[in-house]
């Protein structure tokens, strides 16, 4: 509430110096890529030899970006929808009830967040191969559900806990049957939380690399995986068009993030519920 | 779960560092265009118990935090026995403070909470032990010394907060509405506790509250604040008998503030009328007698509920009202009545009244205070 003037002591200067150093290097890292994507050739020196936008169009065609973007958004929205569908009811039950075995269920939902994606991705990929789902859109969506559902649960449960249970009781006292209580009272209150959780899953799935990498095929790659493959595939691919693709990826991600930040605060992007 | 309070058997005295006076010269605090505290002067003598009284937003907490050093002053100075202390940060002023939500360190036991200030001063362990034990005995928390604050009840936490502030034997103890989070019975007990500690050990105290009963019962002197300005400073008796404005009167239990017009002024009394009400009251509000009330001027009349009497017929300076809500309070009735023109009056009377009764109310002129209507009407 009160705005304090920033007091500048030697310690503060050091802290700000570190922050500024970090920022400068960030700008350098991002700048190199962006500049390169607009450059003709750049083998040494401070700047590229010339500038062009052709890298973007060549990247779009070369890497079939139109199709990749479509697939990416399909996958992402399917994951968001399914994880909300499966995760929100579960969070409601977890928030409202204390039952034997609750801790086991909470553990079940936290493990995919703690275990490295490669570690469970490899067995998962093996299983998907067994069921002939690997390489298809379904397989990728299923794989991405694994970290997304827990994420929804851990974001929504504290949110629901904050909604006074007496609201539901009051609705019942007014004679509302269960479906009305859920539909007219709970659902509207849940919407902001669901929106936040959905957006966070969207951003994370868009950027999720390992799982999609392990389970996708040529027609079901997301943008980030295509980018990686482009970097590593054989043949002469000009670095500039890859940079252009990377910039397109980051640009899309930034747009998503900006939209997300209008609805959620930055801490929720990374944290599950505070202990 | 009231906690019974008994005096400790052998109180070991805490020698509070006495000072002779703390002067606040024109201290004020403004945030940009908004002034939270207008220039405010006060001189506190060593050993006094001063209460800052007022509703929320009146600037009392701002004043307290400024004196503690937690807020910088935008103007003015604070001197302790002639030495300027407003330039010092809070850790160097050496004042003890009890916060509204106690601010007990949740990860430290009661004992370590109380010992904290002494450890910061790097006092020898033996002395710390002894002083902590003395104070814990004083607030009767010796059996709970090893517990964490989260394991204590509200009243117990409050006592820890007080113990932590006084163990340092500070020249001044600042208290920010310490009783407001307690339930009614506990509040009364803790009030007595605070009074006892002050009486036995004489630590100068500055106490912020919005509860006039608390302020009246604890303080040697009261400062009533309104919107950042001082409304009146005085002893409880002075404020109770001679409030200087309708605002202060309202705080001191004059629940009825009627906006009327003076019909005639006769020396120290005035006849006031309006809205089918006719009263004779005493002019109040200015010591020099120039109360600013003349025939025809708008006034505010302050009357305590217990000073309204039910009159028989034919009494002069009376008016009529219809009882609306009657509350039974054992030995008397608290009545909310409406005059014919819709003014609400609060009356306390030992006579049996029922809702709907027609009442004729009168008041002794000495018990009705007439103030000139000022800009700061509540």
């Amino acid at each position: 509430m009160r705005t304090r003037a920033l007091t500048m002591r030697p310690g503060s200067w050091l802290v700000w110096a570190v922050v500024v150093f970090f920022m400068i290097n960030m700008v350098g890292v991002i700048g190199s890529v962006v500049l390169d994507s607009f450059g003709t050739t750049w083998f040494n020196g401070w700047t590229p030899a010339g500038y062009t936008g052709s890298n973007y169009s060549s990247a779009w065609n070369e890497f079939n970006l139109g199709q990749v973007m479509t697939v990416t958004f399909e996958i992402t929205f399917l994951v968001v929808g399914l994880s909300l569908l499966l995760g929100v009811p579960a969070s409601y039950a977890l928030a409202r009830r204390d039952f034997p075995g609750k801790r086991a269920v909470m553990l079940l939902f936290v493990l995919p967040i703690l275990v490295p994606p490669i570690a469970y991705g490899i067995p998962l990929a093996t299983v998907l191969y067994k069921f002939h789902l690997a390489g298809s859109l379904t397989g990728v969506v299923l794989a991405n559900l694994v970290p997304s559902i827990p994420f929804v649960v851990y974001t929504m449960t504290p949110f629901i806990e904050q909604i006074d249970p007496r609201l539901e009781q009051a609705a019942r006292m007014c004679g509302a049957p269960t479906r009305s209580v859920l539909g007219r009272i709970i659902a509207p209150l849940l919407l902001p939380g669901m929106l936040a959780a959905g957006i966070l899953v969207l951003v994370r799935t868009f950027g999720m690399f390992e799982l999609t990498f392990l389970t996708s095929g040529p027609t079901s790659s997301t943008l980030v995986v295509s980018l990686f493959s482009a970097v590593f595939s054989a043949g002469i691919r000009s670095a500039q068009s890859i940079d252009a693709m990377a910039v397109i990826y980051t640009g899309s991600m930034l747009v998503l993030l900006v939209i997300a930040l209008r609805f959620v605060n930055p801490t929720q992007l990374v944290a599950r519920s505070r202990d | 779960m009231t906690e019974t309070i008994q005096s400790p058997a052998n109180p070991t005295p805490i020698a509070g560092k006495k000072f002779s006076e703390l002067r606040l010269h024109g201290i004020s605090r403004a945030y940009g265009t908004h002034t939270a505290l207008h220039p405010f002067d006060l001189t506190i003598s060593g050993g006094e118990f001063i209460a800052l009284l007022g509703p929320s937003g009146c600037g009392k907490t701002t004043a307290l935090n400024s004196i503690a050093g937690l807020l910088p002053l935008t103007a003015g100075s604070i001197e302790l026995d002639g030495k300027r202390i407003d330039t010092l940060p809070p850790e160097k002023r050496g004042f003890g403070m009890v916060f509204q939500n106690y601010a007990l360190f949740p990860h430290l036991s009661v004992r370590r909470n109380v010992a904290f200030g002494l450890r910061m001063r790097k006092l020898p362990k033996a002395e710390v032990e002894q002083r902590v034990n003395t104070v814990l005995e004083l607030v009767r928390l010796t059996e709970h010394a090893h517990k964490l604050p989260g394991q204590l009840s509200g009243g117990q936490q409050q006592r820890v907060a007080i113990a932590r502030a006084i163990v340092l034997e500070p020249p001044l103890v600042l208290m920010d509405e310490p009783l407001s989070n307690l339930d009614a019975a506990l509040r009364l007990d803790m009030r007595a506790e605070i009074r006892r500690i002050h009486q036995e050990y004489g630590l100068t105290t500055l106490y912020v509250t919005h509860d006039q009963e608390e302020a009246l019962s604890l303080a040697d002197r009261l400062v009533v604040l309104n919107l950042g300005r001082v409304a009146q400073i005085g002893t409880p008796a002075e404020l109770y008998e001679h409030p200087c404005s309708a605002y202060v009167a309202a705080f001191m239990g004059y629940r009825n503030i009627l906006s009327l017009t003076a019909e005639a002024v006769d020396g120290a009394t005035a006849t006031v009328v309006g809205d089918e009400v006719r009263l004779v009251g005493t002019l109040a509000g200015a010591e020099d007698g120039a109360s600013g009330v003349a025939a025809g001027s708008r006034v505010q009349v302050a009357v305590r509920p217990e000073d309204f009497k039910l009159a028989g017929d034919g009494a002069t300076a009376a008016f009529e009202a219809v009882a609306e809500v009657v509350e039974y309070h054992g030995r008397e009735f608290q009545v909310d009545a409406l005059t014919r023109s819709g003014n609400r009056v609060h009356v306390r009377t030992p006579e049996r009244v029922a809702p709907g009764d027609q009442l004729t109310l009168t008041v002794d002129p000495k018990r009705a205070l007439v103030f000139a209507e000022a800009g700061e009407a509540t």
Binding site: M253, L257, T267 | P106
Partner: protein
């Protein structure tokens, strides 16, 4: 654990006798009622998509081509190349976590309270999360490369001689930078949120008791922050330990940054040695859980309750 027994509709009280309602009520008191049905879809999904593959993978890992049941595990630990991945992974994960958490403390401390531009600064610090591993990797390759701006600047400042630029890419350092760039915002946001959970009145109280800024930090803020820091460390460690694409792109995947995730991937999807790959995944998981368990165990030694200020 009692079995979940669900009566069809509570409204149809066609049940005879007192026993049926009693059981339903007894169960309801323990928190078991129809609401639990809501949990089933999620649990089933997790069981099918996480537990089953994991157990299946465990089974596969115990059926290697040779060496008996534990053959794949033995061969991991006996092969110095694969065993070396453990050290390489830890040597990336631990320093990066320490740096990330360590830097986040003074910076969040400085950014407490409200000030103009705070939202902007927070957003700027969070932006690196959006970049994605590939752009970060490309950026690091170019910026920190032998002819990139970083080395050019160092040469201009005379810190490095012209023919000998610093080798920062295709090396340990590139991966470390990548982990710091992606990990720091995450650690910072978590630390910032934990720090904000400490009631400011606690520090004010400490100040009135005579504590200077360092003493306030050491005796009040830090002890209350430590449990949160340990949690942040665990989560940051998970990120570092799982490092995969950056180790390949910016590091030296066959040498110095041949981390355990790369080893696992190569065994499973390049060598098609599924038992070995799954065994490696199990080992990876076990180590990760061991470290987290250790850190959380240490955390439980400290006061980790509410730091809200102790209202009655």
């Amino acid at each position: 654990m009692s079995a979940i027994s669900l009566s069809p509709k509570p409204e149809s009280a066609t049940a005879p006798g007192p026993t049926k309602p009693a059981l339903r009520h007894r169960l309801a008191e323990r928190g078991v009622d129809r609401t639990l049905l809501l949990i089933l879809p999620g649990v089933i999904a997790m069981a099918a998509l996480f537990c089953y593959p994991f157990i299946y993978g465990l089974g596969v890992s115990l059926q290697p081509a040779k060496g008996g049941v534990l053959g794949a595990y033995k061969s991991f630990f006996t092969d110095s190349f694969s065993e070396g991945t453990i050290w390489k992974t830890f040597s990336l994960a631990i320093p990066s976590s320490i740096i990330n958490v360590g830097l986040s403390v003074p910076i969040s401390y400085r950014m407490r309270g409200e000030f103009r531009g705070k939202r902007l600064l927070l957003t700027l610090l969070v932006v690196p999360i959006t970049l994605g591993t590939v752009l970060t990797a490309e950026g690091i390759l170019e910026y920190f490369g032998p002819v990139g701006w970083f080395n050019l600047t160092l040469q201009k400042l005379g810190l490095v001689s012209a023919g000998h630029p610093l080798t920062l890419i295709n090396d340990y350092w590139g991966v470390l930078f990548s982990l710091i760039i992606s990990g720091f915002p995450f650690a910072f946001l978590l630390t910032h949120s934990y720090l904000s959970g400490i009631h400011p009145a606690l520090e004010k109280a400490a100040a009135t008791l005579g504590a200077g800024w360092w003493q306030r930090f050491r005796f009040v803020t830090f002890p209350l922050l430590l449990p949160g820091l340990l949690t942040t460390f665990s989560l940051t460690f998970v990120l570092g330990f799982s490092v995969f694409p950056s180790a390949m792109m910016v590091g030296d995947p066959d040498g110095k940054t041949h981390v355990i995730s790369i080893e696992t991937y190569e065994q499973a999807l390049q060598n098609f040695n599924y038992p070995q790959g799954c065994a490696d995944a199990m080992i990876m998981t076990a180590m990760m859980l061991a470290v987290i368990g250790l850190v959380m165990g240490v955390r439980s030694l400290f006061y980790a309750g509410s730091a809200g200020g102790g209202k009655g």
